[in-house]
């Protein structure tokens, strides 16, 4: 049995029983899962958690699930001390949370694992999502594991090659003739018409909770403490808020000391509605039209933008954007210092980290964690110009001639 008690509106506080809904009937604001933390605290200790499986499911008691989990081996990804990158950036206590190393190569496996588990509990026999890459792959993979049908909707402008990572799991893959906005609208309508578990619509409150495990893991891997600074990407803003919630809950449950982590939002300049709002001192996030190579974080109207903004402000953190060129430079730097090939969103994180360190916002001795949430190979075409091999004939002379040029 889980400690999840109800769903609660994040704006007006109205409560609802645990069910597949995502909006408050009254104010149409998002709902979130609330827990009986008192009871949860009694059953939890560092020792008990540390004995759990080496996956996100070691934190099962802190997640809103009742039945057997749909697990494809997600989580407990490496937290790497990044000394080389730290030297480059002037940070002596820098860590990379490498969440590329999940089964479908992105952090999405965490929220999707919880969402598909709940979908099965609620009695759905199909799950659905709209995605251009990472989410599609994760949903299709989890549906395969759960023996459920998966419907994946993709704007027709997305190249076929990008969909291999989802298609391999054999979902019902539908490309929609229209813009991203058309797909958004279609999915909102479909979610009302069909009895599906729509991952980021009616299952969103549960989907969200899976990302908390990133916060839990980092705290545990740092020896049961929260970092001083976090730099994480924001698309819908959900991940960003849930890393914070994960740290906050750990402290509330007495597993770590009170949290004083400064949370920094990283966005691509071509899609930075949250950064814009932060810098303008605005309360609300106004939508933008995304234009960036960092497709996995190109969301113009972020569902949780308001809350991500609030976390950045309340934690004494900030928000910063970098250009596509800076993101590419960030990808190279991370690969060439730490051996981690991140997707463009990871390049954005490193680009932002570099700026924050250079400007002294993040200080040398602060314990800093940068979150790399997706792997590079799925979108490797953006780095194609980095392939510039030396051409040699199959003879020793030719080789030494080229080597001579090198030397």
């Amino acid at each position: 049995m889980s400690y999840a008690r109800a769903l609660r509106c994040r704006k007006c506080g109205q409560e609802y029983p645990i069910q597949p809904i995502n909006l408050c009937d009254f104010c149409l604001s998002p709902l979130e899962v609330i827990y009986d933390y008192k009871a949860m605290a009694k059953g939890l200790s560092r020792e008990q958690l540390a004995r759990g499986p080496l996956s996100m499911w070691r934190y099962r008691d802190m997640l809103p699930v009742e039945g057997k989990e749909v697990d494809i081996g997600t989580g407990f990804t490496p937290l790497v001390k990044a000394d080389n990158l730290g030297r480059e950036l002037g940070l002596s206590r820098l860590y990379i949370k490498n969440d590329c190393l999940n089964p479908t190569y992105s952090f999405k496996d965490r929220p999707v694992s919880v969402a598909v588990t709940k979908a099965r509990e609620f009695g759905f026999d199909a799950v659905a999502c709209a995605s251009t890459g990472n989410l599609a792959a994760s949903v299709a993979a989890h549906a395969a594991k759960a023996n459920m049908k998966a419907y994946v909707f993709v704007p027709s402008s997305v190249e076929k090659g990008k969909l291999v990572g989802a298609a391999i799991y054999n979902p019902v893959l539908m490309t929609v003739e229209g813009s991203y906005d058309d797909v958004n609208r279609l999915c909102a309508v479909l979610a009302q018409h069909y009895h599906w578990g729509f991952i980021n619509i009616n299952l969103r409150p549960y989907y969200a909770e899976g990302s908390k495990t990133l916060g839990y893991e980092v705290a545990e891997q740092l020896g049961w403490q929260a970092p001083d600074c976090v730099v994480a990407p924001a698309a819908s803003g959900l991940l960003f808020t849930r890393i914070w919630k994960g740290l906050d809950e750990m402290s509330m449950l007495g597993l770590i000391e009170p949290v004083n982590t400064h949370m920094y939002v990283a966005q691509a300049a071509g899609s930075s509605p949250i950064v814009n709002a932060f810098q303008a001192g605005a309360i609300h996030v106004h939508p933008v039209e995304p234009d960036t190579i960092a497709k996995s974080i190109a969301i113009g109207n972020p569902a949780d933008g308001f809350y991500a903004l609030r976390v950045a402000r309340q934690s004494g953190g900030g928000a910063c954007a970098v250009t596509d060129a800076e993101a590419i430079a960030g990808m190279r730097l991370l690969a060439q210092t730490e051996g981690i090939f991140a997707e463009a969103a990871g390049g954005v994180v490193i680009g932002v980290l570099r700026k924050l360190a250079a400007s002294g916002v993040i200080k040398r001795n602060e314990l800093t964690v940068a979150f790399i949430t997706g792997a590079g190979p799925r979108t490797q075409e953006i780095m194609a110009d980095s392939v510039q091999p030396f051409i040699v004939q199959p003879t020793l002379e030719s080789f030494e001639e080229v080597l001579g040029v090198l030397a």
Binding site: P30, C187, A188, G305
Partner: protein, 80 residues
């Protein structure tokens, strides 16, 4: 009859126009405002539209043609 929850975002030049009033008069759509924030230079309104699918679609097309951005209230559904 269906219900559709949407967010309208108004640019500055449309703040003074009674778009929502006109929407419910030109189309058979009942508008029900739940949340809003309108200032002198920008504004958004979260509302529920109720009517036949076709009327709602035509209404949204008209609102969009006036220069208002219309999004699902859930925010963007398409993720990376």
């Amino acid at each position: 009859m269906t219900k559709r929850q949407v967010m309208f975002t108004f640019p500055q030049e449309l703040i003074k126009e009674p778009i929502i009033y006109n929407l419910s008069h030109q189309f058979k759509v009942v508008t029900n405002i739940r949340r809003a924030d309108v200032s002198e230079n920008k504004g958004w309104v979260v509302l529920e539209l109720e009517g036949e699918d076709g009327e709602i679609e035509q209404g949204i097309t008209w609102v969009t043609s006036k220069g208002v951005r219309v999004d699902p209230v859930t925010g963007d559904v398409v993720e990376g």
